[in-house]
Symmetry: C2
Subunit: 206 residues, 2 copies
């Protein structure tokens, strides 16, 4: 049934879906979980409530799509930026800079709203936990790849995990004040520590 | 005017104040900033609304007192636990274990609620930012002392800061699921890294 007439409609449908997801991300960051309803998201997206509910039956469905989108966007952004990093001596610090700045944008605030809401909302929790686990695993995989680490070496897995946990802690520290100057110094020192302590597979500094 | 008759009243007043602060901490953790009003706190504390407003004129006043209390309680708890730590070889990992578990309790959830609320609430933000800076400085001071670090050595300050940022990241990771097993491995590895990378003043392992 792939007639020419269907194409534009499918595309319209994709655009609507995407606008709803974008609006959901914005609303979650602005109003939190409690303040974000399908009606408010639809209004922000410029979509009728009926059309919104055609795409996403419940608020939970929309949030699942939004979190998945955020996770994928983050990993994609990471890969794009990583492709532009220098090779050689300077690479390790550039990679660490990238990783430790992962959670300093508005996406992190949205994620925080959801985590906190899920920590007390019994309906939201089972939705968020497996999603977060998946997004977290993907971030770990990319970090491992960028740092060029052999995960079989003792301690390597934990140091990569600690790098991402540190990144989330730095994201928190950046929530209320611009923490960029302090973070830059931590990036420098963390890169030095990883250079000494992290057994590398592919010789980042070669 | 320190007559015997005044003593019990002062004590009652202190008890009421303390009950209001405890209730504020509980309510913030449970309902977040938006859901926490003076009326709800008073009810939880078993205190009349008038009495609550005698002690704390506004919700902001109560929250300042609650955050200060949380910060002091945390540092006090840290000192008490630190006093019981072993000396010698085992001390460094025990200290790291203490620090990286700082933000895994219910107090952290309360703090998170406030940080997120302050990130979008223009009235709350100027209240929370200086308070958090003060609490953060105190945590840094204690961490420095426990790790026995000479902060004048290059990189030492950043590694102690990174340890506390990592602790907050681990607190986030523990919000939705029990992350204790993974955290224990990170504690072990981080203690090893600090043992190698952190210039120590007072010879922790001596």
């Amino acid at each position: 049934m792939n007639t020419p007439a269907r194409e534009p409609q499918q595309e319209r449908s994709r655009t609507t879906r995407r606008r709803l997801i974008d609006a959901a991300v914005t609303c979650l960051g602005e109003f939190g979980w409690n303040g974000t309803t399908v009606a408010i998201i639809a209004q922000r997206a410029g979509v009728s409530r009926g059309a919104a509910q055609h795409h996403f039956r419940t608020r939970e469905d929309l949030v699942i799509a939004a979190v998945e989108y955020l996770g994928e966007a983050q990993v994609e952004q990471l890969r794009t930026r990583a492709a532009q990093l220098p090779q050689g001596q300077a690479r390790l610090e550039a990679v660490v800079d990238l990783l430790l700045n992962l959670y300093t944008g508005p996406m992190f605030r949205t994620a925080l709203h959801l985590w906190i809401a899920a920590s007390t909302d019994e309906a939201l929790r089972p939705v968020i936990v497996p999603l977060e686990a998946r997004v977290g695993r993907e971030a770990h995989r990319v970090a491992l790849e960028l740092l060029g680490v052999d995960e079989d070496r003792p301690g390597a897995r934990e140091l990569v995990q600690a790098t991402l946990d540190l990144a989330r802690g730095l994201g928190l520290a950046n929530l209320l004040t611009d923490d960029a100057r302090r973070r830059t110094k931590i990036v420098h020192e963390w890169a030095r520590v990883l250079g000494v302590s992290l057994p590398q597979r592919s010789g980042l500094s070669s």
